[in-house]
C-alpha cells in the first residue's frame, strides 16, 4: 500500500503549529512549552482549569503526613520504622489499584478484585502447605495467578460478550469468591500459615518481610534511576533530533532530579536500622517488585497497541469498534490482567501478615474500595479513558498512609471506614468536577 510513509517526509515544522489559533481551543499549555518557566506556567494554567493531574495526590500525601505526624503520640508517623511498615502495607493497595486501573480505564468497575486477591493468596498458600501438596513456590505462584486469570476471563466474558454490567458481574464475583476462599481455607476458622524456616515457603514469606542489603538497596535504586532517567533523557533527545516537539532539557532534568530525590529518600529511610534487638535495615523486597509491576503495566498501557486500545475503548468504544479494534477481546483481557494483578496483591497480603492466611485476614470488599479510592485519588477517572498505572502507586501510598496513620492513632475500624469512605467520595468528586470542567468547555465547541 502506497501510504504516506513512502512519500518524502516533510519536517514536522511544516505544520505551522502557532498559526491562527482557533477561537476557544484550549491546548494543554505544557505541550508547547519551550522552557522550564513556560512549562511550569503551563502546568499551573492546566491545574487551575481543572485538569489537576497528580497534584491532588501530592497534596494528599503531604496532608496525610502532616496530619498524622502532628496527631500521633510522640509524633511517630514519620519515623523510619513506621514509614517502612507503611511502604510495606501500601504496596498491597498499590498493586490492587494497578489491577483496578485496567478496568477503570475501560469505563467499567471491578468489585471482585479484593476477594480475587484473597483467592489468589489462599490458593498459593494451599499449594505450598507441607507435607502435602508442598509445591515449589515457583510453581504455586504461577498456578494461583493462572486461576485468577481464568476468573478474570469468565467475568470479562460475561461483561464484554454477554453485555452484563460489570458492576453486577463483579458484585456477584465478590460474594462468590468470598465463599470460595472460605471453602479453600476449610471453614470459617480455617488457617494456612507459611514459615520463613521452610526454605520453599520462605520465598513467599519474604516477599514483603525480607529486605535487600543496604548496599544492594543503593545499587538497585541507582540502577533504576539511571535506567528510567536515561530513558527519559534519550527519548526527549531523540524526539528533538527528529524535529518533533519535546519537553525542554531543563524540564527533563528536573524530572530526573525529582526521581533521584525520591529514590534516595526511600533508600535512606529504609536503610535506617529499625530493629530493636537485632539489626533490621534495607529496602523491603516488595518495593522493587512493585516498581517492576509498575514498569511492566506502564509499558503495556503506554507503549503497545493493546494499551492504546484500552484507552480508545475507554474514550469512545464506538470509535474503537469502527477502527477495527476487537473491543470484546480487549475488554476480556483487561479483566484477565486485572485479576492476575489482584491475585499477586493477595500473595503480598499474606506475606505482609507474616504468612498467616485466615478468613479474617482482610475484608475483600473493603480492599476493593481501597483499590478504587487509591486509583481515583491517584488521578484515574471512574468514567474511563483517563489514568495511568503510576496513579495506583501514588494513590496506594495515600490510602496506606491513612489506614496506617489511623491504626497508629489507635482509632477503631469504624473510623477507618468513615475516613476512607469520605476520601473515596472526595476523590470521585474531584474527578467529576474536573471532568465537568473539561466537558463544559468541550461541549460548546462540538
Amino acid at each position: 500500500m502506497a501510504r504516506i510513509e513512502n512519500e518524502p517526509v516533510a519536517p514536522a515544522e511544516a505544520v505551522d503549529l502557532t498559526a491562527a489559533v482557533d477561537a476557544g481551543a484550549e491546548v494543554p499549555p505544557e505541550i508547547l512549552a519551550q522552557s522550564l518557566g513556560e512549562y511550569l506556567r503551563g502546568w499551573w494554567v492546566r491545574v487551575r482549569s481543572g485538569d489537576s493531574g497528580v497534584l491532588p495526590v501530592i497534596v494528599g500525601l503531604v496532608a496525610v503526613a502532616v496530619i498524622f505526624e502532628t496527631t500521633t503520640p510522640e509524633n511517630a508517623f514519620l519515623r523510619p520504622s513506621n514509614l517502612v511498615y507503611l511502604f510495606q502495607e501500601s504496596t498491597i493497595y498499590m498493586v490492587l489499584a494497578m489491577a483496578e486501573i485496567f478496568i477503570l480505564l475501560l469505563g467499567e468497575i471491578d468489585l471482585s478484585i479484593g476477594y480475587v486477591a484473597l483467592f489468589g493468596g489462599v490458593v498459593t498458600w494451599k499449594l505450598v502447605q507441607t507435607p502435602s501438596p508442598a509445591w515449589p513456590w515457583w510453581a504455586a505462584i504461577p498456578v494461583a495467578l493462572f486461576f485468577c486469570g481464568v476468573v478474570g476471563a469468565v467475568q470479562g466474558t460475561l461483561v464484554s460478550r454477554l453485555k452484563i454490567p460489570s458492576f453486577v458481574v463483579t458484585l456477584g464475583g465478590l460474594l462468590l469468591f468470598r465463599g470460595i476462599v472460605v471453602i479453600i481455607l476449610g471453614g470459617a476458622d480455617g488457617l494456612f500459615s507459611i514459615s520463613p524456616s521452610v526454605p520453599n515457603q520462605a520465598v513467599i514469606y519474604n516477599l514483603v518481610q525480607a529486605n535487600l542489603d543496604p548496599t544492594v538497596s543503593w545499587i538497585v535504586m541507582a540502577a533504576a534511576v539511571v535506567a528510567v532517567g536515561g530513558g527519559l533523557w534519550m527519548r526527549a533527545a531523540s524526539r528533538r533530533r527528529g524535529g518533533l516537539v519535546a519537553p525542554p532539557r531543563s524540564v527533563v532534568a528536573l524530572r530526573i532530579v525529582l526521581l533521584a530525590a525520591v529514590g534516595i529518600a526511600v533508600v535512606a529511610i529504609c536503610d535506617v536500622n529499625r530493629g530493636v534487638a537485632i539489626t533490621i535495615d534495607g529496602v523491603p523486597w516488595v518495593v522493587p517488585i512493585v516498581l517492576g509491576v509498575l514498569a511492566l503495566w506502564t509499558l503495556l498501557l503506554q507503549r503497545t497497541r493493546y494499551g492504546r486500545y484500552v484507552y480508545a475503548i475507554g474514550g469512545n468504544p464506538e470509535a474503537a469498534r469502527r477502527a477495527g479494534v476487537k473491543v470484546a477481546a480487549i475488554r476480556t483481557w483487561a479483566f484477565v490482567l486485572s485479576a492476575v494483578t489482584a491475585g499477586f496483591a493477595g500473595i503480598l497480603l499474606g506475606s505482609f501478615f507474616y504468612g498467616q492466611y485466615s478468613t479474617n485476614l482482610a475484608d475483600g470488599s473493603q480492599l476493593v474500595l481501597y483499590a478504587v479510592a487509591a486509583s481515583v485519588i491517584g488521578g484515574t477517572s471512574l468514567f474511563g479513558g483517563r489514568g495511568k498505572t503510576i496513579h495506583g502507586v501514588l494513590g496506594g501510598l495515600v490510602i496506606g498512609g491513612i489506614v496506617y496513620g489511623m491504626a497508629l492513632l489507635g482509632l477503631q475500624v469504624e473510623w477507618e471506614l468513615i475516613v476512607t469512605g469520605s476520601v473515596l467520595v472526595l476523590a470521585v468528586l474531584i474527578d467529576v468536577l474536573s471532568r465537568r470542567g473539561a466537558g463544559a468547555g468541550g461541549g460548546e465547541r462540538v
Binding site: V15, D22, R308, Y311, G315
Partner: protein, 264 residues
C-alpha cells in the same frame, strides 16, 4: 442521463452504483438507485429526512449490503461486505459523530486501529511525523499541537482531524456525512475548504448534507434522493436552489428537466 454525462466527461466514474435496491423488512429504503462518483469531483447528495441518504451511504461503506444492483469500483463490479472491504478498496466514511476518542490525541486518533509498530512497541515518532505531514498537506494548520487531546479541539478542527484520518490511508473515495451540521460560519468555511482540497487531490468526494448553501458552494455534481429514489443527478450547474428544493420535497421539478434521471 448519468451514463451519457460520464461518457461526455470522457472517463469512467471511480465509483458507480447501478440499480441499488435495499429494503428492511417491509420497508423499501432504496429503489433502483444509480449514482456516479467521479474522481476529482465533489458530489453533493441531498434529500429530506428519510429519503435514503444514510442507507445509500452505508451501502457504499459496506455497513449494509444492497438487495439488488451492482457497485462498480474503477469499472469492475465489487461486493463491499464490511468496513474492512471498503477500506481495502480505498473507500473511507466520516460519519457525523466523527468517531474520535476524546481522550486520545490527534496522532493517536488518526492512527487508531492501524498503529505503526517498531519492535512490538508503538512507533510514536514515525506516526507523529506522518500525521503532521498529512495535516500539513491538507493545510490543517490551526491546531497548535498534534499531541493535544481531541477533546481540546474546536468542532471544525475535530471534523478536519476526522477527514485527515480518512484520507491518510491512500483512500480514493471519501464519504462525508453532514460535515458541517454542528459548525459555525468560520468552522464551516474551514471544512468546505478542506473538502475542496480533497477534490484537488483527485479523490472522489461525496458530501451528504441538508444544507443547500454548503452543497452549492462546494459540489461539482448534485444528486437528489426522494423517498428512496434518485430523482435528479447531474452537474451542479444544472441545478438551482429552487429546483433542488422541489426535487427534495416533491421528487420532481418543472424547471430543470435536463438534470433529472426521472423518478422510478
Amino acid at each position: 442521463m448519468t451514463l451519457a454525462e460520464s461518457a461526455a466527461a470522457g472517463a469512467e466514474p471511480l465509483l458507480k452504483l447501478r440499480g441499488i435496491d435495499k429494503h428492511f423488512g417491509a420497508v423499501q429504503a432504496l429503489y433502483g438507485v444509480d449514482l456516479d462518483l467521479p474522481a476529482g469531483q465533489v458530489t453533493g447528495l441531498c434529500g429530506d429526512n428519510g429519503a435514503g441518504k444514510s442507507v445509500l451511504t452505508r451501502c457504499i461503506a459496506g455497513v449494509h449490503q444492497p438487495d439488488h444492483g451492482q457497485i462498480y469500483f474503477e469499472g469492475r463490479p465489487v461486493h463491499i461486505r464490511g468496513a474492512r472491504d471498503a477500506a481495502e478498496l480505498g473507500i473511507e466514511t466520516v460519519y457525523q459523530d466523527l468517531a474520535l476518542a476524546d481522550n486520545l490525541d490527534i496522532v493517536q486518533n488518526m492512527f487508531l486501529g492501524r498503529e505503526r509498530l517498531r519492535r512490538q512497541l508503538l512507533d510514536e515518532d514515525s506516526m507523529e511525523r506522518a500525521a503532521a505531514e498529512t495535516l500539513s498537506s491538507l493545510r490543517v494548520t490551526t491546531v497548535r499541537s498534534i499531541r493535544q487531546p481531541v477533546a481540546s479541539l474546536s468542532g471544525g478542527q475535530r471534523q478536519s482531524v476526522a477527514v485527515a484520518k480518512a484520507v491518510m490511508w491512500n483512500s480514493k473515495v471519501v464519504l462525508l456525512d453532514e460535515p458541517t451540521a454542528a459548525l459555525g460560519v468560520v468552522q464551516t468555511r474551514m471544512v468546505l475548504d478542506l473538502v475542496r482540497r480533497l477534490r484537488d487531490r483527485g479523490l472522489a468526494v461525496m458530501v451528504i448534507s441538508h444544507n443547500l448553501n454548503d452543497i452549492f458552494e462546494v459540489a461539482d455534481r448534485i444528486a437528489v434522493l426522494h423517498l428512496g429514489r434518485m430523482v435528479a443527478e447531474g452537474p451542479a450547474s444544472n441545478f438551482d436552489r429552487q429546483s433542488t428544493v422541489e426535487y427534495m420535497t416533491t421528487g420532481g421539478s418543472g424547471r430543470t428537466a435536463a438534470a433529472t434521471g426521472g423518478p422510478g
